[in-house]
Symmetry: D2
Subunit: 112 residues, 4 copies
Amino acid sequence: MTLLKCSADFCLIPMGTGESASVSKYIAEVQVLIRSSGLKYAMHSAGTTVEGPWDEVMGLIGKAHELIHSLGVPRVQTDIRVGTRTDKKQSFTDKVTVVENILKEKDAAASV
Amino acid sequence: MTLLKCSADFCLIPMGTGESASVSKYIAEVQVLIRSSGLKYAMHSAGTTVEGPWDEVMGLIGKAHELIHSLGVPRVQTDIRVGTRTDKKQSFTDKVTVVENILKEKDAAASV
Amino acid sequence: MTLLKCSADFCLIPMGTGESASVSKYIAEVQVLIRSSGLKYAMHSAGTTVEGPWDEVMGLIGKAHELIHSLGVPRVQTDIRVGTRTDKKQSFTDKVTVVENILKEKDAAASV
Amino acid sequence: MTLLKCSADFCLIPMGTGESASVSKYIAEVQVLIRSSGLKYAMHSAGTTVEGPWDEVMGLIGKAHELIHSLGVPRVQTDIRVGTRTDKKQSFTDKVTVVENILKEKDAAASV
């Protein structure tokens, strides 16, 4: 068991889905699954970030693979960026705020 | 020369920066660089998505590495998810809208 | 539980380890952990590929994070490329062979 | 221009190629392209590592996208792990040796 809290950003690619390059209908199914998990998450154009205990987050991504296979897709490839830290508690939603605050200070200093 | 338009989402990690686990000051410097490039971009908690001609986008990420090295950082590691498509013109900002519209239709159908 | 068999290639980066850019001693510790797992694996210069049931493979990478934290590292960031397929059984070690055989055929055809 | 030397490991995924989950014929075409580049490289089961000046390496991956599109594939998605360092010259082929030497020393110490 891995109880460590993590923040995982993943980009899932269904393969062997036919001639169409569009995969949005599969991504929508994965979003429904994530929503039902109860974990904190945010979708962006290059993936979805999910936060929670390691086993739950990774188990959720595994269930996403199973779901896509159950829709008839023979192969699924996912890229995951996962981070853990023990020095402080920080939600993934705080990260952008921290950087934006530094940028505001830099802008303010530059405009003096 | 590679004129192909691409959408690249990258997560840059400075290494050998000392005992602190925080890298937000470096990420802020990279944001200033990206802003000055004139390319369309969006920052999220797990990276930044940049859109434009392949050589410009990849050149920008290379300049980000050079910038971080110039700040005294001995090693930089970046994960890039880059996509190109020839079947249609689509900005990275459209992708989330497409998935959200499918989700709205699903929700509407479920609530009937 | 996710029993789906997967092949996961991961690149783990310890952060906040001091002024040195070298992380090989941490990677060696992770190799010892992987070796003790009994899962099939192969190390290369940009990561390690591990194969097995989803939960075991992802649990192993989680234990690698815990191990690195236990050595005093405050932050760990990992990139994982994970693939699953239902159309055939194929070990990750077969993939290179398949491509090399195509290359040999191309070379043979070109030399006629 | 970015003259910085880098080591880039990339995993290219053709999308919209039909019902088959196999992409080995496309990967073989990319290998022929890489071989003709003159850059140092190594293929493994989860990608190919290429080493050289930033612009050449990234330009090569861009040409790989163009090549796959020229074969009729409407969408290509690639994951790249790229690293640069200024503290020492090290080829990607040295990295595995460094870790293996640490493992040998650990094994030797354990067997005393």
